[in-house]
Symmetry: C2
């Protein structure tokens, strides 16, 4: 995989979509697809799609298009989905539990190693197949275990402190569900799911329907 420089966040954000579309058509038994066909499914222009995929060295063949299976494999590789990740979950409230049971994790290379919660005692009795530790064991735990991803699903109050502990504990990425802008260090990657912002975007468009029709 050869990648050009200066790839924009918009391109990157489209890659998981392509991956999803391609898996959907692969499930239907489709073995090849043209950028024109992808354009019809995605609503993006064929030229945009070709350009996005060219960025990552995925070139279709004139008159043939893309081999669906090969393109899925290439995208899985680009997105890093075809690797194994060790994961811890910090915060086992309602959302944490939902994420723990999230099928997207269950069916892929993400492997839960531990759960941390301020009140591990209240978690007893809930179905789970990894050990639960008190939140203040996090620092020690990270000294002894190599963890790739931490899912952060705790209240806002001391989220930055926990984030600091994670960054000092040699993790690589944080999937953050805390409604706050956390600062990471040591090159730890941060990906936010800000549910409140998404909900407000919904109500914005409900109140400004014209903007919804003309959104880009």
């Amino acid at each position: 995989m050869k990648k050009n420089n200066s790839v924009s966040i918009s391109v990157i954000k489209r890659l998981p979509k392509y991956f999803r579309y391609l898996n959907t058509i692969a499930d239907k038994g489709i073995v090849r697809v043209s950028s024109k066909e992808l354009s019809e499914i995605t609503g993006l222009t064929a030229s945009q799609i070709r350009q996005d995929l060219n960025h990552y060295g995925c070139f279709g063949q004139q008159g043939y298009g893309y081999n669906v299976r090969e393109l899925i494999d290439e995208l899985a590789n680009i997105l890093g989905i075809n690797r194994q990740y060790s994961v811890i979950l910090v915060g086992f409230g309602n959302l944490g539990r939902a994420l723990y049971n999230y099928q997207g994790f269950r069916n892929s290379g993400y492997s839960f190693k531990a759960i941390f919660d301020r009140k591990p005692e209240i978690i007893e009795g809930i179905e789970k197949d990894v050990e639960v530790f008190p939140a203040d064991h996090l620092k020690e735990y990270l000294k002894r275990h190599k963890i790739d991803i931490a899912i952060l699903a705790i209240p806002k109050e001391n989220a930055q402190d926990v984030c600091d502990t994670l960054c000092e504990g040699n993790i690589k990425g944080i999937w953050n569900f805390v409604p706050d802008d956390l600062k990471t260090k040591n090159n730890v990657v941060l990906e936010n799911v800000h549910l409140d912002e998404s909900l407000f975007t919904l109500t914005y468009f409900m109140n400004n329907p014209n903007d919804f029709n003309f959104r880009d």
Copy 2:
């Protein structure tokens, strides 16, 4: 509130962020803020912030900046947060339960009216304060009740059918957690939370750290 035309999705997506930042500083007792100070908190340029807010007729005062409380109220109005919304939840699995208990809902003008699930009998015994109906009652229910927002947290399989029922049932917006691209009609607004895409974006950046540092 007067709004200029041709507001881009990027501007709209920043509004909830401004709203959040402003609430954070209001909680600290800060009563006025300059675009320069907002710039330091948000990482956006002061000129970008002024331009975004000007779009919506929110003008700061030279030498004073913005009154924090007033700007929060204006943004709440623009985002439609200061209104009442009747909400139904479709799908009461792990994620549905987490969303049902989501504090962002609990503290604001969103009022849950009903829950729908394919297997309402398995929900018995779970704490909730609204009625639970079998999924196939949805169409009839929407004929008799005026609902603004439906939260969709069901598996992908027949999500488009449910989406069609919602759109024909005169709702105004769908907050979609199904990992699929649903098509709405009758001007129903759709806002997606695609957890799988977010997770793949995280692993992408973990595997392409240079792109993370230079993301726009």
